[in-house]
């Protein structure tokens, strides 16, 4: 958890991006969090509890798996960072374990969260069960339908799942509703935001909690190839938390090329897309300044992606900054490319990825690497929640 030029300034800005654009009602809560998060997460007590839970509860470190057949196909060395093997099936739990410990230390009794794919909702409901805390999860009504298994899990874990009927009924709308809940519960409630988005200090907080991913990659690669960094790290970007965590330890090392995969939906040139960094203009949504898909009047354009976790019109301010300074490259990946990549990984390696993670896998055929380069792909989650979507796709393909 080191400090670098990739941590925000005192006001929460990465270059021109970030900040805390919040109504007065949220100021006490955000100020409390901002004034305490670094002290708490850098304390020895927190670190011990956090790492113990990551190890014994979530199963970290997650393996760095050398994907032999995938490597052969692409004539390169592909390693998969197996975040899918975490408890609850995605990287999201790294963040929720950290934030629930923080919430406890701040004395909060009620936890709220937004969720898209349901992975963050499940990861939040899980740690709330673990800690005996009340949990309310906001989820777009469309996502409630397309990620049904996760809804059942959240309910079984004791969470209240509130379907959100506004807007496109997806992640953006769920986030609006979670923020409204927080405004209405100023005293007892902690908002566990699910990605590197939202007002300062959330983007920095979540980046730091997820940085365990790249810290482990460093150690694991070193043990394997005698070099603590790869040539490439690739990750999908919704809000950007698995990417931030996968990039974090390498941001200061220019030898590591960092590539993010955005959801292009039906294509960046269509109206059905969620490729924020390709299409977005600087704007303010959910408390921070970042790239945003919007019209000329600043109305947010409803995004589209086959993958609920990437179906978001914004992106974390860190990524807008990394793109602006040329440190990272973000490439749009269509629904079809992601589906094909999911199938390819399944048949070559026997691993069914989450649709979100499949976007990162789809980068492989798009890059011009040199033979022998070491590529790490963050496999952010497993595909269990997506079986409905996959089965529709296969029915369609076999006709």
């Amino acid at each position: 958890m080191n400090k670098s030029r990739f941590t925000p300034d005192a006001d929460g800005y990465y270059g021109e991006f970030g900040g805390a654009y919040i109504p007065e009602m949220l100021v006490p809560n955000i100020t409390e969090l901002r004034d305490n998060y670094l002290r708490i997460i850098e304390s020895e007590e927190f670190r011990n509890e956090f790492h113990e839970l990551l190890r014994d509860y979530s199963g970290r470190p997650t393996p760095l798996y050398f994907a032999k057949r995938l490597s052969e196909k692409y004539h390169t060395n592909v390693y998969l960072k197996r975040e899918d093997l975490n408890h609850t099936g995605a990287h999201k739990i790294n963040n929720t374990i950290g934030q629930v410990l923080l919430a406890e230390k701040l004395g909060k009794k009620r936890i709220i969260a937004e969720t898209g794919a349901g992975q963050h909702g499940v990861a939040t409901a899980t740690v709330c069960a673990l800690k005996g805390l009340e949990c309310v999860v906001y989820m777009g009504a469309l996502d409630v339908d397309r990620q049904a298994p996760n809804v059942i899990k959240m309910k079984m874990l004791g969470a209240t799942v509130v379907p959100v009927e506004s807007g496109n009924k997806t992640l953006k709308d769920a986030t609006n509703e979670a923020m409204r809940d927080w405004i209405n519960h100023p005293d007892d409630t902690y908002y566990i935001i699910g990605s590197v988005v939202g007002p300062h200090p959330y983007p920095d907080l979540v980046s730091r909690l997820q940085s365990v991913i790249s810290d482990e990659i460093s150690v694991q690669l070193n043990a394997r190839i005698g070099r603590a960094y790869p040539d490439y790290v690739m990750a999908c970007v919704g809000g950007g938390s698995n990417a931030a965590g996968g990039f974090y330890a390498f941001l200061d090392n220019p030898a590591v090329k960092l590539i993010g995969a955005e959801a292009a939906g039906l294509g960046v040139n269509t109206s059905k897309t969620a490729a924020t960094l390709a299409l977005g203009q600087t704007g303010i949504l959910h408390g921070s300044k970042s790239k945003l898909i919007q019209d000329q009047y600043g109305q947010v354009i409803e995004p589209y992606s086959i993958s609920a976790g990437l179906d978001y019109p914004g992106v974390g301010p860190l990524h807008s900054y990394l793109q602006a300074i040329g440190r990272c490259t973000y490439i749009p990946v269509t629904d079809q490319e992601a589906l094909d990549a999911a199938m390819e990984l399944t048949r070559l390696e026997g691993i069914i990825p989450a649709l979100e993670s499949a976007h990162a896998l789809a980068l492989l055929p798009k890059l011009n690497w040199n033979p022998g380069e070491e590529m790490v792909i963050i496999l952010s989650g497993r595909g269990d929640k997506d079986m409905d979507t996959y089965s529709k796709y296969f029915d369609h393909e076999s006709h």
Binding site: I22, P186, G298
Partner: protein, 277 residues
Amino acid sequence: MNRIDELFLRKQKSVLSVYFTAGYPELTDTALIISGLEQAGADLIEIGFPFSDPVADGPVIQASSHQALINGMNLDILFDQLRKIKETSRIPKIMMGYFNTVYQFKVDRFINHCVECGIDGVIIPDLPPELYEKDYRLLFESAGIHFICLVAPQTSPDRAKYVASLSRGFIYLLTSSSTTGNNYSPGINLPHPLIPSPALRSARGRGVMPALIGFGIHDQETFEMACRHANGAIIGTGFIRHLSANLSRQGEEQLSKYSRQQQINTLCENFVNQIRG
């Protein structure tokens, strides 16, 4: 002199400010509603410009904003509508909306349009005072457009003082930490949330700055309650509800502009009379 300041020089008690969403129920209702409220005896009007993601608003204003956007409302159209009534409408007017719409319009251009169109003040709930002070205060103050800040019950006394020192025209006191439209049922929550907390009292400590109370004020009882603690109150959701219940979307019965104005006048008169009792 700014008309908000004029108002509070003239009147220190029972000031009624009414919020409506521009472009709702119909795109062209803006001027008619302003005129209706002015004639009915409102003291101040807050013109909401719609945003796709209004996180500080409850379901009623969310729905009116959504409908206004479907109707095609945007800042260019709204400023055109306001420019046309600049000479005829004398009531002080405030524009209220979310920062992203202003940011895309460009803040200096937005302010220039406000000046041109007879706007006296601006409320942007998601532009915090610190950011306002650093980046935009000079622009607003040199143009004579009042930037009005919010103080919540949870706002600390020190912060409330700071916020009040930036606010111009009046301070917007929130009854509670809440999204818009959470009604207070008399006898249960009232008058408790309206008893000025230490934060609210120190916000007004300078004595000179008027204050209006908003969020949850919706009838005569809550209005009077608010007026006991401040110079008056702001009603938003209650008025939108009243509009929705009494004013159809035009649909089949295409009224002439004249008869729609009549309808809106009656409706505004009834509303203001109800509130003032």
